[in-house]
């Protein structure tokens, strides 16, 4: 943690992401986001706290529930929203979408769709940057509690530990993988998996952004100074369904009481308590204004030209044969 980040800035980020996500849910309903979204509402403190310890040059790998990570890492919100809306002005020109975005301008390299596989991708990036002209960069790989039962993730832990790579593994344990409760999926524990490879591993409150920040700062510092990888398991919770489809399909995998209990430790409320009311009001108003612009930019941007459907497939401009023969 180099310079201190004022509580207001953390509050503002959380507020921004909360409202960004709520607006994106609206845009799903309005038909502007064809994929639906996986809202991170309730989990904002993790992304914000983690990314508050990173520099611009540090690298993030995100997941399907990644909007918060991207915004926290410093991506342009308008271009993130445009991406989610499948617009050419999006960070990936509409080719990544809500689920699997990357934004190299903010050093968000990837959000692979294969749950858990970012872990070893992160190891490869970390290995490379540690040996590059600009070492000292740290890679953060975000994943959920569901990912820890994917063997490929554990293969990544082994590689990162063997070579003491500068990676911070951030597991957002929001208690469910889609409908699956973590305790029915994970024998033993999440942190014991890290420990099995000799990776310093701890479970940390994910709802208080200042706690997240402090825990991450230590792990980032260790990585940056050559001390190798860490695993941070953040206890957190998503308020919404896994994906907006749950707004229609009412699944009963958790109780209203459980949701209500978690909302009593709302990351926005926790951080709000540290910010004077008048400052908060100003921030909240700013956020709304900014989001008005974000949405206007996204929705007002052009959709991709169907003629470009195979653009960006290959680096050398190779064009795959069409689905019908040219003489047909």
């Amino acid at each position: 943690m180099t310079d201190p980040v004022p509580s207001e800035r953390l509050y503002r980020k959380i507020r921004f992401i909360r409202r960004f996500e709520e607006r994106s849910v609206d845009l799903v309903a309005a038909g502007e986001i064809a994929s639906g979204v996986h809202p991170c509402i309730g989990q904002e403190a993790v992304g914000v706290g983690v990314c508050s310890t990173l520099t611009h040059d540090d690298i993030v790998l995100s997941s399907h529930r990644g909007h918060g990570h991207l915004l926290a890492k410093g991506c342009d919100p308008a271009r993130v929203m445009a991406e989610m809306c499948g617009r050419v002005t999006g960070i990936d020109k509409g080719r990544g979408g809500s689920f699997h975005p990357s934004d190299f301008s903010a050093n968000v390299y990837n959000s692979t769709g294969t749950v858990g596989h970012g872990c070893a991708i992160a190891a490869g990036i970390a290995w490379s940057v540690a040996r590059s002209d600009t070492p000292g960069r740290v890679v953060v790989s975000f994943f959920g509690d569901g990912a820890v039962t994917q063997g490929a993730l554990l293969e990544g832990f082994n590689l990162a530990a063997l070579w003491q790579l500068p990676v911070v593994y951030v597991c957002e344990n929001n208690k469910y993988a889609t409908t699956l409760p973590v305790q029915t999926a994970v024998a033993g524990s999440i942190t014991a998996r890290g420990a099995a490879f000799g990776i310093p591993s701890s479970t940390v409150d994910g709802q208080d952004v200042e706690v997240v920040r402090a825990a991450t700062a230590a792990a980032v510092e260790r990585a940056r100074s050559g001390g190798g990888p860490s695993l941070l398991e953040f206890d957190t919770y998503r308020y919404h369904g896994h994906h907006t489809f749950e707004l229609k399909a009412r699944l009963k995998y958790r109780t209203e009481a459980e949701i209500a209990r978690w909302k009593r430790r709302d990351p926005l409320d926790i951080q709000a308590a540290r910010v004077p009311a008048d400052v908060r009001e100003r921030i909240d108003a700013d956020v709304e204004r900014e989001l008005d612009d974000v949405v206007a930019f996204a929705v007002g941007s052009p959709k991709p030209d169907p003629a470009d459907a195979l653009e960006y497939m290959y680096s050398d401009g190779l064009r795959p044969r069409a689905g019908v023969a040219s003489n047909a």
Binding site: A34, G86, A185, L251, P306, G323, V324
Partner: protein, 322 residues
Amino acid sequence: MPKLSYLKALNRALGEEMDRDPSVFVLGEDMNFALTNVTAGFLEKYGPERILEMPLTEQGFTNFATGAAMAGRRPVVEFQIPFLLLLVFEQITNQANKFRLMSGGQTSVPVTYVCPAAGWRAAWGAQHSDQPYSMFAHMGVKTVIPATPRDAYGLLVTAIRDDDPVVFFGPIATMGVREDVDYAELRPIPLGKGRIHRPGDDVTVVAVGHLVHDALAVAEDMSGEASIEVFDPRSVYPFDWDGLASSLERTGRLVVLDDSNRSCGMGGEIVATAAEEMRLVAPPRRITRPDGAMVGAAPELDVVLQPTREQLVAAVRKVLKS
């Protein structure tokens, strides 16, 4: 007669096999809430010993199913997304499907893999919209992709009863298809037996999966212009080569409509086999996705990468002229 949807046909076939044979059980992700609806109502009826909720451990549970099958069970493994079948490709093609031969016939591995979501999902990203059936055919794994509720029912029953691994692809685009059905007349349908949905004299259109419905619509639209025979292989491996040959014996003209990627896809196999071994009076045509297509970005980009009715109309006209 009641209307049976494709999805409900899967539910019915699976439930009846569970009733008939206690060795049948289902495993997969989000089973306890029947997220895909294939197993809707099953947890309550059959309990957690026959409806197994699995962690996000596809390779592990695919191997688990192989073991259970060698121990006398008949696992049905559900995969919610087609790429998950790529993730377990080695476990199915190089393990489960080879263990019988490698044991000299001592064991068999009666697992059914069901993907009730094959094909395009708008904007879910390029990793979620593939059609991998051609590669299972390449590796010699029994593979079906029925187009109608009745065929889905009959082929799922057959897949479950089959003593070898069978991959069942249910296209997303067919899940809502409905058909008038007399339940008492639902029957298992053999592997490797195609179906002529509509007889015709001028050209054979082989259509795979959900594209059967497009082929039928085009055949109807063009009925003034051409007599189109619509041939649905239903299982891509084994394939009903005899059925195709006898259709071409009559028509001598072939158009294939296949949602696979072009190169080394099922569409190409059908064209190749016909060119090599069957009667053709005009060059055959196929309509597929492009080579190595990556589908699933913005909807505008995706629709042009999948076979269309307009392409079929043009291809039919072309083969009729040559």
